[in-house]
Each structure stands twice: as C-alpha cells, then as structure tokens.
C-alpha cells in the first residue's frame, strides 16, 4: 500500500521533450511507472522513447485516462502547465520545476483547492511508492518497499535518509517531497494524515527544516496519531536571518527556530534524531514497539 499513488497510477509527463523531461520520463518508465503520455505544446503527434506526445493534457486524459502528472516545464510556463493539468481533472500534480514565482504558486494552489486535487511541490523531487510507482527525479536505488512513510522538505537529505533505511533493510511505503519553495501544495500534516490512514504504513519519518511553522503544526497533529513518528530537523547551526538556499529555510521574526520545532515535536511524542545517522535505529525501535503494541488493532509491519 502507498499514499497518493500506486501501481495503477496513469502518468503524464509535461515537458517531456525537454532534456530533463525526456531523461526522467525514461527513468520513470524503467522503474515500472505507467507513463501513458507526454505533453509538449507544438510537439503533438511525435513520440519520446515510445511514449506518445500530445499538444494538450486534455488529449492525454481523453485518450489514456491519465490520473497524475509530473511537470518539467520551465518556470515561466509552469503555472499554465499546472492549471492545465488541474483543469483536465488530474488528481495528483507533481511540479518538479524550480523557480516558479510565488504569486504563480499561490494561484496554482488556489485552483488545486477548488479542484480538490493534490499538488506536490513545486521545487520537489517528487514522490515514490517503492516498487510500484515513481513520480519524480529521485535516485531509484535509494528505495525499497516496506512499512515506513517518509516525508521531507528537502531532496538530497531525504535520499540520504531513505538510502540508509534501505541499507538497513527497512523499506518505505511512500516517500514524499513537499518541495523547497515558500508556497507548496502539501504540508507535513497533509501527508501525515494520509500515512496515518494508510494500512501499508507502520511508522513515519519526517525530515524538516528551520523556518516556517509547518513542523510545529505537524507536532499538533502527531499528538493524535497512532503511527510512531521519527523526526530529523536540519538547520540547527544556521544563523538567524540568513536564507539558506530554500525559501523556507530562514528564521524570521523569532518563529520557526530549531529549538521551537524540537520542543513541539518532542512534546508530541516524536523521537527527534540529533544526527542523520541516528534515524535508522530510532525507526527500528519504533517499528518494533508499534508491532508489539498494535498487533491487535493497527497495521502490521511486514
């Protein structure tokens, strides 16, 4: 089991004729993802690695019953691509594109809400249900199927953590990248709620950062969760007021400090790893405990 996507997800790749789109479309197909069509205005009627290309998302939906999309369209055109996907009724829109103006992102999210659809990103590595479906640019080797849900703001850090879990024999149900921009479609809470409801997820790893208050809000939600949550937070050493790459990774106005996040999460019963390599062991302990305490009522870790 997985959240948001699975082996039946029928995927469009928007911007498939660009370098990045073409490259990752191939990797997704190799992983087993059902990439049913590509979209690239003006290139309709052609093919990319055997994938049919259309001018519009609507055509891809009409002909192939697509249900999700991965967007590699350059930033100036990404708003239109996202709105097109949402308007065509796609339920999961994964916006890989970096550099989408924040005003555009706000419009996209408003439309997604009206359409009751999920936007992952922008500026995300995507999401993967190991062994089933990969919608994004993450390195496939890092993942294996299993009972742990992972949700992260940041890409490479989450690859590192997923790879460590995999190496330790702990697979993942789904790994979701929220995206590094200030305005993104999903919050930690949105994803935690889905993991909590997913029979295939027995524990969750949450990879947060300084800045914003998403982790504090997650802590509130975690209080009511049955699944154990292990957290790691980056940015402990970051000086206040400095923007560290991500739009979100900035401490401003005394909010979103490392300490406030750790405190909130700890109070919610989350195990907070001080160093990344501690995560695997904490997850192992959590799974063992969850398996013990929930054998009668919850999902079993395989």
């Amino acid at each position: 089991m997985a959240i948001l996507i699975d082996e039946r997800t029928r995927v469009v790749v928007q911007g498939i004729t660009g370098n990045q789109g073409r490259f990752h479309a191939r990797l997704m197909v190799e992983y087993g993802t059902r990439v049913v069509a590509g979209v690239s205005p003006g290139k309709g009627g052609t093919e990319v690695d055997g994938i049919p290309v259309y001018d519009t998302v609507q055509e891809a939906v009409d002909r192939h019953g697509a249900s999700a999309t991965v967007i590699f369209v350059p930033a100036p055109f990404a708003r239109d691509a996202c709105l097109e996907a949402l308007d065509a009724g796609l339920g999961v829109v994964v916006a890989i594109t970096e550099g989408i103006p924040v005003h555009d992102a706000m419009e996209i999210m408003t439309f997604a809400q009206a359409r009751n659809a999920v936007v992952v990103g922008p500026n995300t590595f995507g999401l993967i249900a190991p062994g089933k479906c990969k919608l994004g640019i993450m390195p496939a080797r890092a993942y294996a199927p299993g009972p742990v849900g992972v949700v992260a703001r940041s890409g490479t850090l989450s690859y590192e953590i997923a790879a460590a879990l995999t190496q330790a024999g702990i697979g993942q149900s789904t790994v979701v990248g929220l995206g590094g921009d200030r305005v993104v479609g999903l919050t930690f809470v949105d994803v935690l709620r889905r993991f909590e409801a997913d029979p295939g997820t027995a524990a969750v790893v949450m990879v947060g950062e300084i800045g914003g208050t998403a982790e504090e809000e997650a802590a509130e939600f975690i209080k009511g969760m049955s699944r154990p949550v292990v957290a790691y937070l980056a940015g402990r050493s970051a000086p206040p007021g400095k923007r560290m790459g991500h739009a979100g990774a900035i401490i401003e106005r005394g909010r979103g400090t490392f300490e406030s996040k750790v405190r909130a999460l700890t109070e919610a019963g989350t195990l907070v790893a001080r160093l990344p390599w501690e995560i695997t062991e904490l997850v192992r302990q959590s799974l063992a405990k969850a398996h013990g305490s929930k054998a009668s009522r919850g999902p079993a870790a395989p």
């Binding site: 924040v102 490479t156 479609g185 980056a234 390599w277």
Partner: protein, 370 residues
C-alpha cells in the same frame, strides 16, 4: 530582491500612493538643493541593512547648508557592512499618527496576507497581536476596495481618513501584485493634516519572478562573495568558521553544517551546489571555497542526480587551478560512485562513504573540537 527605499517609494508613487516630496541624491550639493525646494528634510541613507537609524543612517535638517553637511557626513560611510552611496532627501512630515500597512506571502495559507496596525513606526514584530489586523486574500479575487475599507475600520479609523487609508492599502495591493512582491510594507504610513503619506517603505520582489520585471534595476545584496556565488547560480552564505563546506541540496548542506557543529567544528560557509549541477559550476564553487583559505574543505555528496564522477572531476580541476594545499575531505556515494572514486585516486585523493567519518575527519583536520 530587496529594493532600496527610494525604489519602493517610486513604485508606491506610480501606484498613486502619496510619498513625501523629495528625491534620492548622490552628492551633498543635491541634498542642499532638495532642501531649498521642499523645506526641512529627512535624510535617509539608502542601504538594505535594518536598524540604520541607530547606526547614523537617518538625520534631519532644517536648512540647506545643514542638509549638505549631514549628507556629506553620511555618504561613503558604512552601515552594518553596507556602503552608503545614495541618500534619500525628503520633506519632513507633520506626524499626527503612524500606521503600519503590509502585504506578504503567507506560506502556510498559500495566500497573500494583509497586515495592518495603528501602531506604526516600530518593528511590526514588536506590536502586540491584538493591535494587528490580518486578512488572508484569495489570490484570484484579489484584495478588493471594500476589504481595504473593512481593514481601515478595524484600525479604528472613520470618515475621510478611513477612506484615504483604505485607498492607500488597496493601492499597496496593486504594488504587491504588479511587482510580484514577497513583501511590501509602508511603515510608517504617517497621517498628516494633508492626508496619509508613506514615510518609509519596503518592496521585496520574488527573485523567481524577476524574469517578468526586466524594468527593475538589479539591487545586489550580501557580501562580495555571496554576490559572486549568486551570479554563478549558487546559494552561498558566509559563516565565521574554518571548515569550508560544499554539498548538493539545501537540506543536506544544512545538515552537514549541523553535523560539523555537533562534532565541535566550525563551518565557514553554506554552499549548496544544487542537485544535478555539472562539472563547470561545481569547479567554480570549489575554487571559490579554496580561495578563502579555510583550514579544510569538506565535500559531502550523495549522488542522486548529481553524478559522483562529475564531482570528482570538479574537485580535481579546482585543486589544480588554485594550486592550493588546503586539505580536502571528500565523502562521495551514489550515482557513478566507482567512476568518481577512480578519478580521485588517479589524482591522489581518497573519499569516505560514511558522512559521519568524513565530518569527524574534517573537524580533526581543522584542529579538533572546540
């Protein structure tokens, strides 16, 4: 991109928001001229640093010679690391009351938020929450005039004044949209006998949206080094330690700094080479780090999109180009790991697999934990 106050005010004025009469000057003589035209003036150094008032960046003058002298003293001065090249010379206002009006992107709500207070002129963070009016805005519907009137009412304003302030706030929304702003503020909006005037203002434009604003001048922020890095498309932040760090991705880079600190080391910088950067930009990035002559450089790469052989090539090239003896600690795993390690070894370098070991080694080379 943060715009200087005078540029923010130009944007306000274009949108029909009243600003004090005056203009920006680059010489003391011009300041005297402006003072002759408008009477007693405020003199404001155009730097992007906060707290410029306490640092001598704001002064007043009643007479032209006074304005000239004070601006002469201000120009060339350095305020919080920023050299003063321009001074905004504006008519001094008769202050009846000061308001705060701001519009920002509220990430959690994924919407713009209008923030207003009748306690203006101070840092908005210092205003008690109950004196602040907040309104989320649907980005499609926009912030319509009636909503501005409702905010003005909540500020306790009535009659003509309420209408004038609502009008300013509604126009500020226009500025926010027109300039793809992350944040725009009027603080304070001064209520004068002649109506409200934007006495100070901010306009921070979304960097991602600059392609839509070729009309804007480029305002460079940060240290020389940070600017250089930005020109190369890298995210670089100068820190005060001695272990230079290069990693790929903001999260892993931050984590690397955290680990070094945890182990007792002192990172010299934040440098995110990005996911999937090629040989050339990574070489430039490495060169930049080496030029700073840190005690040690730690390269921490988990190759996903980034290919380990590219990283190895960049490290080798930068080292050769700089001819430096700064010790390198490299951690390299992931895509094309074997090829990368081979390249390093050909050049007499080695790499760790575990982040933990690499970080510990870097701290040791920098002189051990402190």
């Amino acid at each position: 991109m943060k715009l200087y106050e005078y540029l923010a005010k130009q944007a306000f004025a274009e949108a029909g928001i009243p600003v004090p009469p005056g203009r920006v000057v680059t010489t003391a003589e011009e300041a005297a001229l402006v003072c002759r035209e408008v009477g007693p003036v405020a003199l404001k150094a155009q730097v992007l640093a906060g707290g410029r008032g306490k640092a001598g960046g704001i002064a007043f003058a009643d007479w032209p010679h006074e304005a000239e002298a004070r601006v002469a003293a201000m120009l060339g001065k350095t305020i919080h690391g920023h050299r003063v090249d321009r001074v905004l010379v504006e008519k001094k206002l008769t202050v009846q009351a000061e308001l705060y009006l701001g519009i920002a992107v509220e990430g959690a709500a994924r919407k713009p938020v209008v923030i207003a207070s009748n306690q203006g002129g101070v840092n908005i963070e210092e205003v008690p929450e109950k004196a602040i009016v907040r309104r989320l805005v649907d980005p499609l519907w926009g912030f319509r005039p009636y909503r501005a009137r409702e905010v003005a009412r909540r500020l306790g304003l009535t009659g003509r004044e309420a209408g004038q302030v609502a009008d300013v706030l509604h126009r500020l929304w226009g500025v926010f949209r027109r300039y793809d702003a992350e944040l725009t503020e009027i603080n304070p909006l001064v209520l004068t006998p002649e109506g409200p005037v934007a006495a100070d203002g901010r306009l921070n434009v979304d960097d991602y949206a600059l392609f839509r604003h070729p009309e804007l001048p480029v305002v460079e922020e940060g240290s020389e080094l940070e600017r250089r890095a930005r020109a190369m498309g890298l995210a670089y932040v100068q820190l005060d330690g001695d272990i230079a760090v290069m990693a790929n991705g903001a999260g892993i880079t931050m984590a690397t700094l955290d680990i070094l600190q945890e182990l007792g080391g002192r990172p010299a910088n934040f440098l995110d080479a990005g996911g999937g950067a090629g040989v050339e930009p990574m070489t430039r990035a490495m060169e930049m780090l080496l030029e700073q002559k840190p005690r040690v450089v730690l390269v921490n790469i988990f190759g996903g999109i980034t290919r380990c052989d590219d990283v190895a090539r960049a490290v080798v090239a930068a080292r050769q180009n700089c001819g430096t003896e700064v010790p390198l600690v490299i951690r390299l795993v992931g895509t094309n790991e074997a090829e990368g390690l081979a390249i390093l070894r050909e050049n007499g370098l080695d790499a760790y697999t575990a982040m933990q070991e690499a970080a510990a080694r870097a701290v040791a080379l920098a002189g051990g934990p402190r």
